[in-house]
């Protein structure tokens, strides 16, 4: 199952994308002085061309706009640390402020180990931002792309009002390998996939990546407030 980069997504999904870039709330990150982390960040920046694992901005599909957050799996496995949390919080705030739907497209292994408990703190941080956003009355949409696991899935992503999973994506709180190791049992074939999640009622739809623009565009039209 190939991973689709954030930039490729932006190109195929949106007619226009105005990126927010770095946000004020970001802090210079190495909260627990994890050995080798600073070098790993530099390497991730070079290999992915991104400054963090989350890219935010306003995306347009035809005449409809949404605030969008995309995870770049090529940046340390799309993991969520303080900077990613700050960008997500700020993007959700802007969505509420501008009354635009919020779309998150996740491709992530979860909380970033190298930031320790500071990474885990991004779960309640993004949940709180999502709850504030919900109160403004705009819809929250999560697209769970390959792969989506751990602390991102189990925080703001799963809390969305509409959950869309991509065909063939690995989806689970625990990754399948962890689930097998911890439980000591072989998982049934097809476990931890988008299709299994759909059968069990965990997501609203399974959508092929080629159809995603269409589906998101339709949702934005359906949910547009009547004029």
């Amino acid at each position: 199952m190939p991973v689709i980069s954030a930039r490729e997504r932006i190109a195929t999904l949106f007619d226009r994308f105005d990126e927010f870039g770095r946000v004020e709330l970001e802090v210079a990150g190495d909260p627990i002085s994890f050995p080798g982390y600073e070098d790993a960040i530099l390497l991730a920046e070079r290999s992915s061309g991104e400054s963090e694992a989350v890219i935010t901005g306003v995306g347009s599909i035809e005449r409809h706009q949404a605030v969008v957050a995309l995870f770049e799996f090529g940046f340390l496995g799309g993991s969520m640390g303080e900077a990613a949390g700050a960008r997500l919080q700020e993007a959700m705030r802007k969505a509420g402020e501008s009354s635009r739907p919020f779309i998150a497209i996740t491709s992530t292994g979860g909380a970033r180990m190298q930031e320790g408990m500071a990474a885990l703190a991004q779960m309640p941080r993004t949940v709180a931002a999502s709850v504030d956003l919900a109160r403004t009355g705009v819809p929250r949409i999560s697209v769970l792309a390959h792969p989506t696991t751990g602390g991102v899935y189990a925080s703001f992503a799963a809390l969305a009002d509409i959950l869309i999973a991509e065909v063939g994506a690995t989806i689970g709180f625990a990754g399948p390998r962890v689930a097998e190791t911890m439980s000591g049992k072989r998982l049934p074939p097809g476990s931890h996939t988008a299709e299994a999640a759909f059968r069990k009622g965990l997501v609203d739809a399974v959508v092929d990546s080629k159809e995603l623009r269409n589906v998101l565009g339709r949702l934005l039209v359906i949910l547009e407030p009547a004029s």
Partner: protein, 244 residues
């Protein structure tokens, strides 16, 4: 003491459990059971109780890994506490959520995210105490109170040292080597602003003298309950900033 030593104390088989503390500290407690959706997770203890003449609600991960149904039990309890205006006390001794197939497909990720939501938004005051091993997002849902305390020899980490060793060295047996790097001790949690208090334990650890350890928690709770009643706080604010 190394972080790995702290793990040994936090995981000590004789270490008092959240259930022990609730039984010892409260005048009386009535345990609630079931998520009203087909399960009663044994790793999750939710209870109504009487403490110093006041009604309270208690939600605890009781030395185990809660399944999706466990999180739904917590949601039930906290929504009830909000309606009855009961202060909520949460206790954490939980290496992580139950990652098994059944739990996953009972909606584990959604249940965890909803639990964060109710813990962060309930109108009642929430006081959190980490009493043993805390691990990953499953445990984090009950460590988001207005006030968070951690016992001296309790630990909390984004991932267990064995899991980190598996990722870093492809060898879970090397947990002792990586434990320090994860900064999982009570002092680390305080420094990161994710705990407000470290509760001291009997010399050698809570298992040496559980009664004394319970007394320590009880006296701290007594002061803290009146403090949080007097001044409600922005529960989520601590997660958006880090002390320097």
């Amino acid at each position: 003491m190394t972080a790995w030593d702290e793990y040994q104390l936090a995981r000590h088989p004789g270490r008092p459990t959240p259930r022990y503390y609730v039984q010892t500290i409260c005048e009386d407690f009535f345990e609630l059971h079931g998520d009203r959706a087909g399960s009663d997770d044994p790793a999750t203890l939710v209870s109504l109780a009487r403490l110093e003449g006041h009604p309270i609600a208690v939600a605890a991960f009781d030395r185990g890994s809660p399944s999706a149904g466990g999180f739904r039990k917590v949601i039930r309890l906290i929504e009830l506490a909000g309606r009855l205006e009961l202060p909520v006390i949460t206790l954490v001794d939980c290496p992580g959520a139950d990652p098994g197939f059944d739990s996953e497909y009972a909606g584990l990720a959604s249940a965890i995210s909803r639990t964060f939501e109710v813990v962060l938004t309930v109108e009642s005051p929430v006081i959190s105490i980490v009493t043993g091993e805390g691990g990953s997002g499953g445990a984090m849902v009950l460590a988001c109170g207005d006030v968070v305390a951690i016992q001296e020899h309790a630990v909390f980490s984004v991932i267990a040292p064995e899991g980190a060793a598996e990722i870093l060295h492809r060898d879970p047996a090397r947990g002792a080597e990586v434990a320090d790097a994860l900064r999982p001790t009570s002092a680390d949690l305080l420094r990161l602003g994710l705990a407000d208090f470290v509760l001291s334990e009997p010399k050698g650890g809570a298992h040496i003298d559980p009664v004394e350890a319970a007394r320590g928690i009880a006296s701290w709770l007594s002061t803290t309950l009146s403090d949080v009643r007097a001044s409600p706080r922005d529960r989520a604010a601590r997660f958006s900033r880090r002390p320097n």
